[in-house]
Symmetry: C2
Subunit: 258 residues, 2 copies
């Protein structure tokens, strides 16, 4: 039986939950976490605002307050994720299971939607998701499409790819158009070279998947874009979730879809 | 024949256009303007992020740069609106037709979607808009619904009201669900008292309209919410468009609807 979002967060807080979150608590939005000092927070918030497809904001905490009041009242971003990455000056410094000891009064937490929500909706509609069928991480690629920049934050748009039949492409566009807080509609389909992807079999992140005869690669904006922007901005300190170890919100997938 | 958005902005810049913008350049998004010093900009941006229905952000300018690069390349927020309101310490100080002389290097411009876009879509679908039929400004009301606060920015949700038949209510929800950058779906319909509105005939802003037998009042989040938040935050200086004298963007209504 599914755990509730609050139960998952409590187990994380108690140190007894340390697994990737895909498939956990089906039906609830999961979120990418980014924590930055206030000094960098305005430019990062502008970056997300100007690039809503890769960076759909679900919540922004009050300065110094680790509670995401909009999407998970009572939760604590310092302890309620299974695993964190700590970046210093744009380099991965440490992987930890809680950040209470390094939390600061000037930290701002950002929660950003992820693709799990629309993947669940596609599967509920009978549309197969290849990387899930093949038990792999979704293939992700850097494109030649520049994001809108904000201060020190800039990045090429990173996309995830799912191969679909033509009829499923149409239905996938229709369905994901309801999930603007989970990357929304695709940004491209078909010829990968048109968006600067040389070889589908060599993703920049994740794992290559089979594209069958007659299937069309479909490309969605991806939250990894945010991480590249952070690496390039080189903040003195930045904290994110560990890939796959997301923050589980109290918001139902379908509720926050617009 | 319609002017182009660029032609309207040029005439504003030349001082030859000084009219309200509703109905001008049909088919293009018009925007509410808010200009604040950088010192207040982060909290205001968080306020908009946490209250996307009343405050759907279309663009945020780089600090000190009056060009809204996303929605109107080459435009100048200092001159390209017909009329501005200058607020000092939360009070209307001056009404002017350009702000070149008081623009500062620390100013940030915010462009926020407005209801004209979805009203055009409703009328295109054959749904009558009462205040337009009656040649009035849309009736607007303060509700008892508090917005999410951000720093000094807080406000009750302000709504606009349009009376519709039950079948048009359903179609209006369906249509406006595609206009998340123009306040999106309604927040309430029917009993106004449930959201703290005592008397539909006494709006807080705009003018009362006829609600015919069998019609249902339908309430949408309204951009005036933003102005109340600014009045309450009392920034040393804030500049907005004059109500009805909006910024005309180069973005087609239908394009930016998600």
């Amino acid at each position: 039986m599914d755990l509730s979002p609050a139960e998952v967060r409590l187990q994380c807080r108690q140190g007894t939950f340390n697994f990737p979150t895909p498939g956990i608590v089906s039906g609830f939005l999961q979120a990418n976490l980014v924590i930055l000092p206030k000094k960098m927070a305005f430019d990062f918030l502008v970056f997300c605002t100007l690039n809503p497809k890769p960076c759909p904001l679900l919540d922004v905490t009050k300065v110094g307050n680790p509670e995401p009041e909009i999407v998970a009242t009572g939760a604590d971003l310092r302890t309620d994720l299974p695993r964190y990455h700590i970046f210093r000056n744009g380099e991965l410094h440490e992987v930890v299971t809680e950040i209470t000891d390094i939390w600061r009064d000037d930290f701002v937490g950002f929660l950003i939607g992820c693709s799990f929500s629309f993947e669940a909706a596609l599967m509920n509609a009978g549309i197969p998701i290849r990387h899930i069928e093949e038990g792999k991480n979704v293939p992700m690629y850097k494109t030649n499409i520049p994001c809108n920049t904000a201060g020190k934050f800039s990045a090429p748009l990173v996309v995830s790819m799912r191969p679909l039949s033509p009829s499923d492409v149409i239905r996938a566009v229709e369905i994901t158009s309801h999930f603007s807080k989970a990357h929304g509609t695709p940004i491209h389909f078909g010829n990968a070279a048109e968006i600067g992807i040389a070889n589908l079999d060599a993703p920049d992140f994740g794992e290559a998947v089979t594209v069958a005869e007659g299937e069309i690669p479909v490309f969605w904006a991806c939250g990894v874009t945010t991480q590249i922007a952070i690496l390039q901005a080189k903040p003195e300190i930045a904290i994110t979730h560990a890939p796959g170890y997301m923050f589980v919100t109290d918001v139902k997938d379908e509720y926050f879809c617009r």
